[in-house]
Symmetry: C2
Subunit: 272 residues, 2 copies
Amino acid sequence: MESFFSFLEKRVNDCSSLLCVGLDPHVSDLPAPNADGALRFCLDLVERTAPYAAAFKPNAAFFEQFGAPGWAALERVIAAVRERSQRLGSMIPVILDAKRGDISSTADAYARSAFQTLGAHAITLSPYLGRDAVEPFLADPEKGAFLLCKTSNPGAGDLQDLALSGGEPVYVAVARLAQGWNTRDNIGLVVGATQPEALARVRQAAPGMWILAPGVGAQGGDLETALKAGLRADGRGLLLPVSRALSRAANPARAAAELRDRIISIQYQRTK
Amino acid sequence: MESFFSFLEKRVNDCSSLLCVGLDPHVSDLPAPNADGALRFCLDLVERTAPYAAAFKPNAAFFEQFGAPGWAALERVIAAVRERSQRLGSMIPVILDAKRGDISSTADAYARSAFQTLGAHAITLSPYLGRDAVEPFLADPEKGAFLLCKTSNPGAGDLQDLALSGGEPVYVAVARLAQGWNTRDNIGLVVGATQPEALARVRQAAPGMWILAPGVGAQGGDLETALKAGLRADGRGLLLPVSRALSRAANPARAAAELRDRIISIQYQRTK
């Protein structure tokens, strides 16, 4: 049985890409302001960008806002990634961006929802409730979880930057905890690409872990700075979610290919 | 315009109860293991326990695990609380237990999902992302948010108990932050009833805030200890979620009435 991250690494090998295509059906971007519009928007983006995607990351909120039909659309989008992967001959992992976090039987139900009902391969989670709240998502090593560590929003520091008695900020302690919990190679971290110092600090605290680093593009994070701060020593270990920069491009496939190639050139510079 | 907590206080006056009836359709408790079973289970519990409920708290995970039909069932359960409230002549708030937490437009979408699509009056949230991630849920003062502060699970301390440089644990800092953000009387806290010392400490840090204190009953929290540690000086300010102790009782209405009366007697002892 392979672990979630060996599955992801296989895909990264196949497509030479660290790009994570965000499926964020913002109402203002849709052909129609409903679940069907969200579905069509996402199916189109999956079809066009799949060859360049190390992973797809549908954002649960943008489906959930449409109620039951939104939830049905989310299921169909994930199924479409599976079908598109089969045509490509290379399975593309789906990371459900849901930022869940709850205890015992409730966590079991969320894990069932993400991995069985929806068919996602990984999920984003809040670390606030501690290890036993994360465990239900890790039981199957083929499924993964990315724990929020340092987020890219203005108020991220309110809690995450509080200094602990040893001097470290809370988010570094979260990175260390997550690294200790990662006994099955299926835990990653979420660190905003907008904060390269934090990215470098987390990389130092958790040298081997995969980091999902949102914020390049729309949120203003610089690609090169983020890559230099967050790549692992082997030039990998960083997934870069991009959404609007692709969906709003005149040619999303070309925009994804170009972004992949820019990342490759920075990886190459760094490791040569 | 009234605030969420003045709405809740009005209901507490009407029913003399601090009981929050948890709507947790565990698969093993359902007449059928599907969304329809979850719906029937919840409708029955709403019908029977409404006269004694200060609030209802549906747990999103147990609906979400059934996919789109589960989401449709959740909408119908919340609508049923509204109808039952009308028959009672006293509106009962619905607190969606969803523990969401995300940034900017994603937080907007979750708020829309909870308050508009589903029709809930309040939601539980993770505090990990800071103030701007909570703001979208507070914009309408009639809607409320309960922030996770100290949870009732075994691993709660992994992050929440870390000592800050000033000596306080993280969860006390969260209570203070939340109190500072509560400018519209619509933020509460979640503190497990299983940890009376933590409850007392949060009550001291946030003397006026409402606390949702799960863990009485199934999780082993003692009712009297929790009430003594967590009630406000006015003998209120604490909501006690109970779920299986009611749904599994031979007569859920009687079990709810008895629990309400036990709470009243403890409130009375404390304030006399």
